[in-house]
Symmetry: C2
C-alpha cells in the first residue's frame, strides 16, 4: 500500500480525496498497488466528513511518518505551502502540487531541493488544471526546442469573455454571473487582472526555455478594460478577444507576457469557450501541438494531482529530472522591446489615424470613432503614436 498525505481540504484537496475513492480499483491497477490517503491536513474541522479520522492539524505528524512517501500540497499561496513543501522534501518525501503561485515564485529552489533529497517535485496541475500539459511539453516533446507557445490559461476570464462575445453581456455583469456560478472568486483580481495567467506562463516559460522566469519580469494585463464595442468590432473583422499568454524564444532574449489579444475566428484557439483552457506549443521538429481541456474545477484539477501522485509513487527514489536552471536576469523583453500588430479604437478622424499609420486597415468609422487594425511594429513606436491619438482602447493582435 502506498500512503499519501493531502495538505489542504479546499476545492482541489477534497477533489483529490474524492477521486482516489471514486476510481479506487482503476488507480490500483495503474499503480499495481493500493493508494491510501493516510492524512489530510487542514486547520479547519470537518466533523461530518467521511474522512474525519484522517484529519491532522500539525504538519509534523506527516513530516515524521516514514510511511508517507508522497505529499500532495493543494493549499495554495506561498507561505504555509512553501514551509510544508520544504519540510516534506527535506524529509525525503516527493511532493506534488497544483499551486501555481508557489511554483512560479519558488520553482527553481524547490526543484533543486527535491533533487538534493533524491525525491520528485511534480506540478502538472499547476498549469491548465486537468489538461495534460507539463508532461507532454517536458516528455513527449523532449526532443524539440520549444520555439513558441501561446494560449488561454485562465478559465474565469475565458468564461467572462465568452459571455461578452456570445451574449453581448458587459464585463461587470459577466463577472457577476461568473461569481454566481462559482467560476470567479469574491475578490476576482488575480483572475481578471491576469495575475493567475501570468504565474502559469512563468511555469511554462521556465520549463520551455530552461531558466526560471519570475512573475516580477512578466508583463500582465487583464480584461477589465475590454468593452462590448471592441468585442463587436473585432467580431466584424473576424476576431475573438481572448486573454492570451505568449512565450517565444528569440535565443538570448525571450517573450513572456499576458494580455488580451484579437484571435482569428478560424484558429482553434478562437473556438475555446467558457472555462476551457488551451495551449498551442510549437516545437522545432513536431510543429504545432494544440492541447485543450478544463483548466480548473475540483475533479479536473484533482485528475492532474492524482496522476502526479501515481507517477511520484511509481518513481520513488528515481529522479525524473523535471526542472530548470535559475533565472537569467534581463532575458525577458519588456513591452517596449517587443513587436506586435495592434487594433485601436480612437476618437479621432480617419485622417489622424492614416497620418500616423498610412497602412492602417480602417474597420470602423461611426460617430467620430475610428476602429483600425495596425501593422506590426515595435511597441515602443506604437506607444509613441498612441500618445498622439485620443485612444479609447488598444488591443494586441495575436500572430499565429
Amino acid at each position: 500500500m502506498i500512503n499519501v498525505a493531502v495538505l489542504g481540504f479546499g476545492t482541489v484537496g477534497s477533489g483529490v480525496v474524492e477521486l482516489i475513492d471514486m476510481n479506487k480499483e482503476h488507480i490500483a491497477s495503474k499503480l499495481e498497488n493500493q493508494l491510501n490517503v493516510k492524512y489530510i491536513l487542514d486547520i479547519r474541522d470537518f466533523p461530518d466528513s467521511p474522512y474525519k479520522d484522517k484529519f491532522v492539524k500539525d504538519f509534523s505528524v506527516i513530516e515524521n511518518d516514514p510511511d508517507i512517501k508522497v505529499v500532495a500540497e493543494v493549499i495554495g499561496g506561498a507561505t504555509f505551502a512553501y514551509d510544508y513543501t520544504v519540510r516534506a522534501l527535506k524529509a525525503g518525501k516527493s511532493v506534488v502540487t497544483s499551486n501555481k503561485e508557489l511554483v512560479a515564485q519558488k520553482g527553481y529552489e524547490l526543484l533543486e531541493l527535491a533533487k538534493a533529497n533524491n525525491v520528485n517535485y511534480f506540478f502538472e496541475a499547476s498549469v491548465g488544471g486537468g489538461i495534460p500539459l507539463i508532461r507532454p511539453m517536458h516528455r513527449c516533446m523532449a526532443a524539440n526546442e520549444i520555439t513558441k507557445f501561446f494560449g488561454i490559461l485562465n478559465g474565469t476570464t475565458n468564461y467572462i469573455l465568452t459571455k461578452m462575445i456570445e451574449e453581448n453581456v458587459a464585463f461587470s455583469d459577466a463577472l457577476k454571473n461568473a461569481q454566481d456560478l462559482g467560476y470567479a472568486e469574491a475578490d476576482p483580481t488575480a483572475d481578471v487582472e491576469g495575475i493567475d495567467a501570468c504565474r502559469k506562463m512563468c511555469i511554462l516559460a521556465s520549463l520551455a526555455f530552461g531558466n526560471h522566469v519570475y512573475p516580477k519580469d512578466v508583463y500582465a494585463e487583464g480584461i477589465t478594460k475590454i468593452s462590448l464595442e471592441d468585442v463587436a468590432i473585432a467580431d466584424e473583422c473576424g476576431f475573438s478577444i481572448k486573454l492570451i499568454g505568449q512565450g517565444e524564444n528569440y535565443g538570448k532574449n525571450k517573450k513572456v507576457m499576458v494580455a488580451p489579444a484579437l484571435v482569428p475566428h478560424d484558429s482553434l484557439l478562437s473556438g475555446v469557450k467558457d472555462v476551457f483552457n488551451s495551449v498551442l506549443l510549437q516545437g522545432n521538429a513536431v510543429g504545432d501541438v494544440f492541447l485543450s481541456g478544463r483548466g480548473a474545477g475540483k475533479l479536473p484539477t484533482a485528475s492532474a494531482v492524482v496522476a502526479d501522485i501515481l507517477d511520484a509513487a511509481k518513481h520513488f527514489e528515481f529522479l525524473k529530472g523535471w526542472g530548470w536552471q535559475d533565472e537569467i536576469p534581463g532575458s525577458v523583453l519588456t513591452q517596449e522591446e517587443l513587436c506586435s500588430p495592434w487594433y485601436i479604437r480612437v476618437k479621432n478622424s480617419k485622417e489622424d489615424v492614416l497620418n500616423l499609420y498610412p497602412d492602417a486597415d480602417i474597420v470602423y468609422n461611426e460617430n467620430g470613432v475610428i476602429g483600425a487594425l495596425l501593422e506590426k511594429d515595435l511597441n515602443k513606436n506604437h506607444y509613441a503614436k498612441f500618445e498622439k491619438l485620443n485612444v479609447l482602447s488598444n488591443i494586441r493582435i495575436l500572430e499565429l
Copy 2:
C-alpha cells in the same frame, strides 16, 4: 554516452537520425548524457549518406552488441519488424516504435515479452505521429476511467476531405493531389479504406480499455464513397464530413470503429484541417481533453520516436508498466449492435422517407433526391429501413 540502433532508414528512420543530430545539445541536456546513433539497419545501400559508416545489414550485429540499450524500430509492417523486435527485447534492449501495424497486431505479446525481459516497449509515435497522445492518456489521465474517445487519426484522408470541403474537388482528384504532394502513397488503400486509422484505434482502445483490441474485430469504413453532393448538403446543415475513429466503454461491451461521420461545424474537431490529426478523450474526472497536431511526416513522427528513446534510456531497467491484458473475445460490438443517428441521401420521395422515419429532418429536396438527418436508433433497424429505400449514400452523425 547512450548508444541506440535505428532499424529502417525510410522517412521516419532518416527523420530520427536527422533529429538526433539537429537537436543534439538540447537532447543531451534533457538526457543528461550524449545520445549516439551507433547503427542504422537497412537492406539498401546509402553510399552518399553522411551516416554511411553506421549502416549494417545484419540485425545480429545490433542484437549482440551490449552497448545498444535502445532500439528504434521504424521499418513498418509485421514481418521483419516483428522478428527484430522480439529478438531485441529478448536480448534485453528496450524497443521504441512508430509501427502501428505491429502494435495493433502484436502489442499484447510484445508488451508481455518486454516485461518478461525487464525492458520497455514504447509506441508514442504509432498513433497521431508527433501529437503527445499515448503518454497523456496513460500517465496524465492515469487517475481517470476513459469513458469515450474519438478523433481524426489519418492525415491523408483528412487532407483529401479538406480539399473536397474547401475547394469542391472530387475525391479522385483530391487523392491525386495528395499523392503529388507525398501525403498519399501510390497504393492509397490503407489510408483511404480506413485500415490505418483502424490500427491506431486498436492501440488507443487497448490502452484506454485495458484489453487488446485486434483489427479483425473493428469495423473500418473509408472515404472512397464520399461525394461532393454529400459534402455540400452536410455543409448546408452545419456539418463537416470527417473520417472518425470512435471508442466508447459500455462496461462489458465496447465500441471501437472507424467510419466517415458528420461533425458539427462548431466543434473543435471540425476545425482540424489538412494533414492534422486530433483526438478528444473523455475521462470520468477530467472531462474532455482535446489533443491536436501533425499526425504524420518525417520530423513530427521522429519527434515522438526520439522522445520514446529518451524515456527508454532514462528508464533503463525501470519498467514503466505500459500495457494491457489480452483480448476479451466478443467484447467489441458489431455495427448492427451499435446505435447512431444518420444522414442519408436517397432517390425517393419525401413521403417514402417520412413513412419510415416520421421524425426525419429533411434537409435537401431536389430533382427527386432527398437528403435527411435521421434520429438515433440501433444500426440494425436503420439497415433494415435502408433496404426499403433507394440509398445513394448514408453517413453516420457523430455524437459529441
